[in-house]
């Protein structure tokens, strides 16, 4: 489990086409803006969302994303959970390595996303799918 606690107000975005990644980016930015994140933080969070959304579509054959607000008493945060029911990742450690790709990407999506956020959790099972949850605190 991530350290982050008590979430409220979840928004769900379906991910099927590349256009849905655009919708996801907009929703995430709106949410981050509402929560009072700085422009730089918004940029980081939206970029991370874009990476995960694109992966769910490209590699996971589509899925869905859930955006949540976090409040842990002291801090406000945003969380994003991207789930797909695609082929899963056999070797997660390898997939996380900067520069590793099985597609035509640069292989910086997962490792880079991890660097852009405060919390990063990936769960994947071959034949079942992949879930990545990220959170960033303000």
């Amino acid at each position: 489990m991530l350290a982050s606690s008590a979430a409220t107000e979840a928004i769900t975005v379906h991910l099927e086409t590349q256009g849905d990644v655009v919708v996801l980016r907009h929703r995430v930015r709106e949410h981050a803006l509402e929560l009072g994140f700085s422009l730089l933080d918004q940029t980081k969070i939206v970029t991370a969302a874009s990476e995960l959304g694109r992966n769910a579509i490209t590699y996971g054959g589509g899925g869905e994303a859930m955006i949540e607000s976090l409040h842990d008493g002291r801090r406000i945060g945003i969380a994003l959970t991207v789930t797909d029911h695609g082929p899963g990742i056999a070797d997660v450690e390898q997939a996380m390595r900067p520069g590793f790709t099985t597609g035509s990407g640069l292989g910086y999506g997962l490792s880079g996303t991890k660097r852009l956020v405060d919390e990063f959790e990936i769960q994947s099972q071959v034949g079942v799918g992949t879930t990545v949850r990220i959170a960033r605190w303000r």
Partner: protein, 119 residues
């Protein structure tokens, strides 16, 4: 399918990346740009990204590929107008567009290329 417009301004090509560039649009842009470099004999391509609110690894790769294609056709790309938050995020992502020239704006790119006067 949308295509990204490529404008000939003076003796360079101006490409303004905006909004949401899908795979197919990205591929078409590479093809169009290659053809235009050859047909116009342009030596310089200004890639204006001031309208991009984020550059993820997909767009980062597109920029790198465009620069590489241009180089093979004896032209150079200057990436102009990257927002500071985008630059910081890109570096944190692990991409730094090494080897690609950058400029704060299209105007300063022109000044840099010494062609401001020629337009």
């Amino acid at each position: 399918m949308d295509r990204v417009p490529i404008n000939k301004v003076g003796d360079f090509l101006l490409v303004s990346l905006q909004g949401d560039i899908h795979d197919a649009v990205a591929l078409a842009l590479q093809e169009d740009l290659g053809n235009r470099i050859v047909s116009t004999r342009a030596r310089l391509i200004l890639l204006d990204i001031s309208a991009l609110q984020i550059v993820d690894s997909f767009i980062g790769r597109l920029i790198g590929d465009i620069a590489a294609i241009a180089r093979l056709l004896d032209a150079e790309v200057i990436v102009a107008g990257m927002q500071p938050a985008v630059a910081i995020t890109l570096v944190e992502l692990g991409l730094d567009l090494k080897g690609i020239r950058t400029a704060l704006s299209v105007e300063s790119a022109l000044a840099m290329a010494g062609i401001g006067a020629r337009i």
